[in-house]
Assembly symmetry: C2
Homo-oligomer: 161 residues x 2
DNA sequence: TATCTAACGTTATGTCATAACAATCAAGGC
DNA sequence: GCCTTGATTGTTATGACATAACGTTAGATA
């Protein structure tokens, strides 16, 4: 796997795959987090997938490479990656995707294309702030958020227009 | 069922249950939508539940009242309600909730309390606008969105402080 | 080395959701 | 009225997603 950049316009501004992995490794070392073989391989898969993967897709790959063959193996690795900021869960798709910016903590928003199924991580600072403000108006203290938009990506909009 | 107002502070500003149902009926009539017995009963349940209900919870109630006993019965009613703006789906909970403002189309945000499991629908105009803007910056055209915050509601914050 | 804990793997089960098809019902044209 | 047509409701069966519980292994600690 020597891919050094993404292939579609949706990701023109994203870090390339190798760079994402480097950021993740640096962060794991810095925080004393154990990026074990299963976890690391799972993360590599998510990065290479260039989009969202279901837990059972991940499991299939892991099993083919000699790791465990049962669902908890995939779910444990995926949940650990999510909890530690290396990946995100896309609830609308019941799927997971590698974080594009694992170097720093952040709330992410996802742009899900209804036509080509692509998933793009977008900066959600302003959105998160607006949501937090709306919550505060109701006396609600926000810990974390799920923010997902469904529509058409730039490629598919072009095709339709 | 003659409840005319909600019981907890989280909903102090919400329309009361009967009023929500009236709004929904008016809207159905106005738009020529068929609020059939199963659909109407399902909506009433969601309103009375005063929070989110899983599809299988709904199914259990419907079955007990003489409607169908199999999952598609509940899912069809729930999906119809969601598609036509009478209810919302809470993805984080794999559950559904009655729309608090069925009179007009809107993007909703949900405040999910991690302590007491309450779910509150909050106005999401500003949040949706911010998300739409972030999407547009990526050339993405947003159709609809899932916006859910997890944290602690005003009641539970009080208790902890 | 002895001990402790995190991580891994398994079996088994639970929960959520839909495909496919048959029966029924409401509305419009004859 | 009677038939056609599409929407709605019901069923059986299956698929997809996720976790509980427990034993084993591997790394760290003393
Ligand atoms: Zn991220
Ligand atoms: Zn697309
Ligand atoms: Zn609503
Ligand atoms: Zn609460």
């Amino acid at each position: 796997m020597t891919q050094t950049s993404f292939c579609c316009p949706d990701h023109s501004g994203a870090q390339d795959a190798a760079n994402i992995l480097l950021q993740a490794e640096a962060r794991a070392a810095r925080m004393g987090l154990r990026l074990t073989p299963v976890r690391r391989r799972t993360l590599e898969m998510l990065i290479a997938a260039h989009g969202a993967m279901g837990a059972y897709d991940v499991l299939e790959c892991l099993a083919a490479e000699g790791y465990g063959t049962q669902p908890p193996v995939a779910y444990r690795a995926l949940n650990w990656l999510v909890e530690n900021g290396f990946a995100h869960r896309i609830r609308r798709l019941n799927a997971f995707t590698a974080c594009a910016h694992p170097a720093h903590d952040h709330t992410a928003a996802f742009l899900i294309c209804a036509t080509c199924d692509s998933v793009t991580e977008a900066p959600a600072g302003a959105v998160s702030a607006a949501l937090s403000a709306a919550a505060e108006a109701a006396g609600f203290v926000m810990d974390r958020a799920t923010i997902e938009a469904v529509g058409r990506c730039s490629v598919c909009v072009e095709g339709t227009a």
